[in-house]
Structures are given as structure tokens and as C-alpha cells.
Amino acid sequence: MSVGYRLVQWNRHKRVYDAIAIGAVAIYVGVFVGGGLLLLRGDRAVSAPILAMRALGTCAIVLLHIVLCIGPLARISPLFAPLLYNRRHLGVLTFLVALLHATLAIGFYGAFGERNPIAAVVNPARSAPPYEAFGFGALLILFVMAATSHDFWLKNLSPRVWKAIHLAVIGAYALVVMHVAWGALQSEASPVYTILLLAGAATVCGLHLFAGWRETLRDLRGVRPIDGWIDAGPADAVTEGRAAVVTVHNGERIALVRHEGRLCAMSNVCAHQGGPLGEGRVIDGCLTCPWHGYQYGPCSGGSPPPFTERVPTHRVRIENGRAKIEAAEGGEP
């Protein structure tokens, strides 16, 4: 985290992450275009710009699937947390690959004619489903997401607005599916593309539903406050330097953390991107979010100076060996 804004707060993990992501794109496009130029000859030969257009378009779709799967995978297993850490860069890369696909489509299909190339491709004056416009709409959403992906916008738009904007990726995904279903699938004879599209959609939807179902079950097991206090279980269940998530019956979640022998409680929602603080641990005397490493004083709820992020705290008391958390926010911890 930072008190100022830099284009990218680089560290080793981000460099490795980006190098692997760019390498994956290079491998995919290289196999597609290189293989196409070398192996597809005679009647099977495809124009090189169309080959590149298809390589980039399908690559962007594969990347979008990966981006959409990372969230639920990280909820299901913390082993996927490193993929979540720099997901925004993967999202920006997805946009750039999709932009190259669109640029080639507009430059090859829309150019050399009497009309504006973008209008010629996006609005070819037909009454049938405008699959090109679906793709263009998805690209615009990805652009807005990429342009607002920086923490500057997260801070200035507020996490709530920022998250709402970035949930539009669901709309982008739906538009991409429509783009393919009313586009390529209409003229490609092989069932491979239909099977892959359905398998991809089933994977994305299945993972989100499974992760959501687990969260819902957790919410249903939420503890109901008695006289304004929540029974968080045995006090010694939370070991030194560790935290636990306590779910209240209304769905609210509280992070219960032990630091230097003392139990403290704060909102489970990280001020950065809503990460689950109770799934983090104490590092350098601060409860550290497992998503992006934002830190908070375990009992104050405030980030260490010079940072200014803060999450609400709750009072905690020990009663007959059980930790009790005050349901109301803001009390002395």
C-alpha cells in the first residue's frame, strides 16, 4: 500500500506474475498464428490478419475466463491467493488483447471502404443480431475497468462504487458469449467451439455458484447477538498472531484477532477491496489482509502511519472462557 500514487507499486511477485501472463499470451498467440501459417495450407489456408484476429479474440476470451475464475478459486482455496494478488494486471492485459483483436477486425473488415471503419464494423446496417456490437460493448466495459483499475480510482470513487463498476465484468462476459454465439458459432461447422464455450460458461458459473453457496452456508450459521453481544466461541481457539472470522446472523462478519495475548475485534472487510481480514494474520504487529497485504492495528483498526485506512472495531470481553464481541461498532476494543 502507499500514501501516494505510483503507476504500479512494483515488487517481485508482480513482475513474475506479469511475465507469466504475458508469456501465456505469447504462447497462445504464437501457437495459433505460427501453427496456422505453417500447417494450414491450400484450401485450409487462412488470411494472416484473420488468423491473428482469431488468435487474439480467442486468447482474450480464455484470459477473461481465467480472470473470472480466480475470485471463486481464491475463496475455495488460499493456494490461489497469489493469482488474486495481481488480478488487475491480468484484467488490463485481457483488455489490451481484446483491443488488438478489435483493432484488427476494424482495420481489416472495416477499412478500405466508403464508411467510417468503426461504424462499418459495429453498425453494418442490418436487422440481424448485431454480434459485432456485442463485442464492442464488451470491449468498452473492459476499457472502463482497465482505466479505473488503479488505486487512485479505488480511493476517489470509494470502494463501493469501484466494486460496482468492476462487477460490470459480468456484463462484459455475457456480451462476449453473445458475440461468439451470434458470430463465430454461426459459421463454424465444428462443434468444438460450442463445446468449449459451454464448458467455459459452466466452469465460470459453477465456480461462482459453489463459492457463493459456501459463503451462504456460512452466513446461515451466523451467531445471533444476545443482549448486544455475540458469542464468538472459546477464547483460546484463536492463537497468538492469528485471526478468525465470526459471522453474525445478519451476514455481517467480524475479524477476531489475538495479538500479544489480547483479543481484539474489527470489521472483517478490508478498506481496500473488501478482502477478508479474518483470514489474514498478524505481521509486524498488524493484521494483514490476505488479498493485497493491507495492514491494520489489531485493536485500533487503523493502518500504521503514514497510512490512513481504518476499519470499524468492536469491543471484546472474555466470559467463562468464551470470547464475546459487542455487536455495535466503534466501542473501545
Binding site: N11, H13, K14, I20, G23, A24, I27, Y28, V31, F32, G35, L39, L40, G42, D43, V46, S47, I50, R54, A55, T58, C59, V62, I66, L79, A81, P82, Y85, A105, Y109, G110, F112, G113, E114, R115, A120, P124, A125, R126, A128, Y131, E132, W182, G183, A184, L185, Q186, S187, E188, A189, S190, V192, Y193, L196, R242, I283, T288, P290, H292, G293
Partner: protein
Amino acid sequence: MTEPREDRLYVGYLPLPWGHSRFLRVFIPCTLWAMALLAALMLWSMRAPGPTLWETGDAREWRGVLRERPYPLLEADDGAAILLVELGKRGAQQRVAGLDGRRVRIRGWLLEREGRRIVEIDEGDSAIEVDDAALGAHPRPTPRSLGTVTLRGEIMDAKCYLGAMRPGDGMGHRACAALCVGGGIPPMLVTRDSAGRPSFHLVTGAAGEPVNAWAAAWVGEPVEVTGEAIDLGGVSALRVTPSGVRRLGAGQ
């Protein structure tokens, strides 16, 4: 070796925990291999664009009688009927204006598919020259009606389908085809018999006039066309009104 539980938390700016490292050393190569295989599978599953030719290099010449309507066409001396278009996505209507029935020499590049030919005319005034040795108009062959027919196929822009793009048909190419046909490239209904052999039919209006304006709305998808089949002398045409075109679902 089992790590203490508290060391398993991944934090982006701290060293990668051993358990995560072990997992990623397997997961990332598997993902990269999966992407490469996926690319190969998608590539190999693409349909074949078919046999087309687009001559490149130096332009060459054809001689014959030029016809302006319904679409610019050369009745070549070797008996072939060759459609004529401009560079890019434009028809040759303006270039050949006033030359109907004249003998000409035309310089350009040939595109050909399964017996149907089209020439992309070179730039410059010298690309079309009236043959001075044979001045005078040549009478247009009388169009011969073959009766009303209903055909199923796809309306293509003749230039891309005959070789300018591979593939130059289908939904993916629809915007380009609409631009081409809207720009004056002849719209051509392509049908195939049960053995896959193609038939090419220029799409014209009920009076034999060009119909680029409305035909552009029907390109790139399966259609059923009902109209009067006409033999223009080496070229088949369909005289159609917009109400004679019906959109079909994919695969029909």
C-alpha cells in the same frame, strides 16, 4: 516438511510461502500447456475457406467487351465472363461508365474460385483502354429467363468470396461483406448442391438493376431467395425483390 500454519498466509510483498510455491510450480506450467493445447485445438477446428486464387505481383491484361449492368463485367475474348471491381471495397461502376458494349483492354489482378472469376482493376487511367481497332458498340446478349426459382445459400460480396479474403464468407465476415456490397461490389448468391458443387448467381433487382443498397443487409448468413433466374450469357443472375429474400437459421 510441514510449515507452521501461520506461515501459510500469502502476502504479495513477502516471500512466497513454501506450500504456495509448490502448488504454483505445478499449476502454472499446467495452465500454460493447457493454453497451448487450447490454441492448437481451436486452430485445427477451423473450417477450410476453400479453393481460391488471388494473383499478386505484376498486373496483367484481359481483352473483351465491357458490360456496365447489372454489374461491371468483361465478356473476355476467351469466352469467360469476368466481373470487374476496384481496389479496396468499391465497385467499378464509375470507372466503366460510358463504356457499355465497347471493346476494351483491362489491366488488373485475377481472383478466382471454382470457375468464377473477378478482376481487380489496376489504378490509373491506362488500366482501362478502349480498343481503337474495334470501335463501335457490341450488342448486349438478350437475357434469357429460366423461370422462377427458390434457392438457399448465402449472399456474398463477390470479391472477398472469390479470393480477397480467406475466409470471405460467413458471419465473421459479415461486416466486411456489407461494406463491400454497399460500396458497389456485386452481391452474389452462392448455393451448393448435395455434392458441395457451387453455383454462383448475381443478385439483381426485378428489372435487372443493381441492388447493392438493400442486398448489403442480407450478406453473411443463410438465406432463401425466390426470384427469376436469368442467363446473362455466361453469367447466372437472380432477379429478386427484397420480399423475395428470407433469413434462415444457421445450418439450414
